[in-house]
């Protein structure tokens, strides 16, 4: 019986949550192909959490241990995965489109001479072929592709494949490898520099307006931004920048261009046209405002009407839970 290989990530000996998504996607492919799922968990020793992968559809959970795998070792990993894929006769190899997965997958693809589709948001099997959908042109179009190589390599965009419980045996195996790290060596993992993210570049922007009432209250937004783990920046409306509450560099909007993060949260901002112009191309807009008639709600995808001083701390709490 043919199989699909799900490449799972760990950090510091703990399985990353995204591995569930990878196994979920692999299971979907395997069902279409009439195949089994092998979850591949590389680590320098046992990886905490790998046992749960059976619950999400892994028939086997293969922990591959090597000293080289303590930190991300692209060359050693690339070699190990490519060899496994080749010798195991896999129909498909599934990665997570994380910073690591997007780096690793092309290396494996080149070693195997196989086609790779990165940042995939949907996978199906039609007539025995792997068909994927992936966004192109900054998400302004979707491309549907057929992968004709065997194995077919895909990396799944994180947070798209909601983990689904599809219990399988999840038989645990451990394979110990003796591999050199390779030429490219990860020396350390540093914490992101706090506040280093620019409003114009951050994938998440949380902006505050006059509704915050006092410059000191921007602390609430900074706490919310911190809960997103270094992905969020705090912006400001023109009104509060002009009032001297926040620096010019944080100001969102004025022209037809400016920020287009994947998530924009407008807090206590009424939505003057100049502000809307600066954030209207954001992928998802959330508005939190006391005034239910504020123009910001017209452009927002989701709105909450009410007291931001109660809503924002609650949101921070929920986001922390999510990322915990």
């Amino acid at each position: 019986m043919s199989a699909v290989l799900a490449v799972c990530e760990q950090r510091d000996g703990v399985l990353r949550k995204v591995a569930r998504e990878v196994v979920t996607g692999a299971r979907r492919l395997a069902d279409g192909l009439g195949a089994t799922v092998d979850a591949l968990v590389p680590g320098s020793g046992p990886v905490e959490g790998s046992a749960e992968l059976g619950r999400f559809g892994a028939d086997r959970v293969v922990t591959v241990t090597a000293g080289a795998f303590a930190r991300y070792a692209p060359e050693a990993l690339g070699q190990a995965i490519a060899e496994r894929a080749r010798s195991g006769g896999y129909r498909a190899v599934v990665f997570a489109a994380t910073a690591t997965g997007k780096d690793l997958a092309p290396r494996v693809a080149a070693r195997l001479g196989a086609a790779l589709a990165q940042e995939v948001t949907d996978v199906v099997v039609e007539d025995g072929a792997v068909i994927v959908t992936r966004p192109v042109y900054a998400g302004k179009a979707l491309l549907k592709l057929r992968l004709r190589s065997e194995p077919a390599l895909v990396s799944l965009r994180p947070n798209v494949f909601t983990p689904v419980e599809r219990p399988r045996a999840g038989t645990a195996e451990t394979v110990a490898l003796d591999l050199p790290v390779g030429r490219v060596v990860t020396r350390e993992i540093k914490a992101p520099e706090a506040g280093a993210l620019d409003v114009g570049e951050a994938p998440i922007v949380i902006s505050g307006g006059r509704g915050l009432k006092d410059p000191a209250n921007f602390r609430l937004l900074e706490e919310l931004a911190a809960a997103f783990g270094g992905k969020a920046a705090v912006g400001a409306s023109r009104a509060v920048v002009d009032a001297g509450w926040r620096p010019h560099a944080d100001q969102v909007g004025q022209t037809g261009k400016t920020v287009s993060p994947s998530l924009y949260i407008a807090v206590g901002i009424s939505g003057a046209i100049q502000h809307l112009a600066g954030m209207r191309t954001s992928k998802v807009i959330v508005a939190i405002n006391q005034d239910k008639d504020a123009p910001i709600f017209k452009v927002a995808d989701y709105g909450i009407v009410g007291d931001l001083f109660q809503i924002v701390p609650r949101l921070t709490e929920e986001i922390r839970k999510l990322h915990g």
Partner: protein, 560 residues
Amino acid sequence: MGDGVVGGAWFRPSAYQPPLPLDRIILPAGTPGAGDRMDLDVLIVGAGPAGLGAAIELARLVREDNQAGHGLGEVQIGVLEKAGALGEHSLSGAVVNPRPFRELFPDLEDSDFPFRAPVEKEAVYLLTAGGRWRLPTPPTMRNHGYYVASLCEVVRWMGRKAEELGVNLFTGFPAAALLRDGNAVVGVRTAPSGLDREGKPGSGYSAPNDLYARVTVLSEGTRGLLTQAYLDWQKIGSPNPQIYALGVKEIWETRRSLDRVIHTMGWPLPSDAFGGSFMYPLEPNLVALGLVVGLDYPDANLDVHVLLQQMKTHPFFREYLEGGEMVEWGAKTIPEGGYYSLAERRSGDGVLIAGDAAGFVDVPSLKGVHYAVQSGIYAARAIFAALKGGDASAAKLAEYDRLVDRSYIRRDLYRTRNMRLAFKGGLYVGGIKAALMTLSGGALFGGRIAVPEDAAVARAAGPEASFVPDNRLTFSKVDGVFKAGNATRDSIPPHVLAAREVPEEVARFYGHLCPAGVYEWSDGRLRVNAPNCVDCKATDVLGPRWTPREGGSGPRYQRM
């Protein structure tokens, strides 16, 4: 007094317009502050139809002369352009008369030119709020034998031709000042880039560049900064001041196809404003449409962008546009003064002025592109003779004025010399006068009709139009700026110079005047959203002065 005006205080925009800062625009050669210095033979300011026409003709003359064996050798021709890429600041209707293209490219056929379809059918309508009246096409507006075109595409194509001939195209470099030696123009200084909001060098700063040349051609287009400064500095006058119109234009992909060139007059313009609309098929289902309004309107609340939006809701336009998509938006002023607004001379020591910068536009036929190219050709011929003679003095370069004055440019503009000016009295009076002028070949009312400059025309606020865009057929100014592709850095220093104190009625007037939402009255003062600016120059005519920003700022027109 305008019938649209109901109360509100009267004011003259000129009272609030700062003077042109000549001390910043005319600099003695060698003034400190520049980074790189570059020496060229001929420098052309503005890569539009006039500048590129001049570059192509001159490069060709030099090449032929060199091939004939008695040439000048290598002649370095440089074209400065403020847009980030060719054509991105070019906007016109346009129906183009191919005549100078045939002269510029004798080996090419019309079908080789970057035009869209030839004009086969055309119609003129007078619109009322709900109806339309087909009018006979005035003789000046007959377009058979001409071509619908996108000026962006024409400019890109001409730019490639110029490059093939060895011309240096410097896109993304706005000219900010003329360099002078005595009364002679010896080059230009470009605008710096990478300034922060306070005007101090930020990260990515690059200093201005000085470009020196034996001859500088000012082909900056409408309301050129250096052209205005040069004429002021040299005290070169004209019988009438130059007057302007503002055009706002959109490109639409339509479901229903358009098979003819259309012009309309009347609704939604008030009768005390002069203007009209156009709708041209670039492709059967790709339509350019726009509204052009003279900037001498008395109602301070008149808003050309809003009028265009309103106009599209007329059944006549709606039936073409509904269900389609607005894909591009832009705005630009047009010099409309015609013959009596031409400067006494368009040449001087080391300098020539061509195209829209010189005011070569014929309003009754709604044409300027072919005059621009033609004047560029004449500029090139005069420059070539000057280079051959080793003399770029005013006397030698005056050959350019002679060539223009003997040509159809002068002839056409003279024939229609008073037609636009007649409309100072409003549409209906003007229409009758214009008809009589056409019949009499310009002889009736043959003397010059004197007009004031636009900024001297008194204004007062009429009723505020309520306009809420539906985002399908009608759009806000900010949407327009977005569709103009404007990607100006948000933190540029303000580049428009407004009076220190601007009263509310004047600030609101600027707000309506500017199609790009640069000006707002809020919290009791005039707010300037400088990055919105699309370089149309409307407020340079009637209010805050325009100065260049860092290269590549402003719109990114593709098919305008």
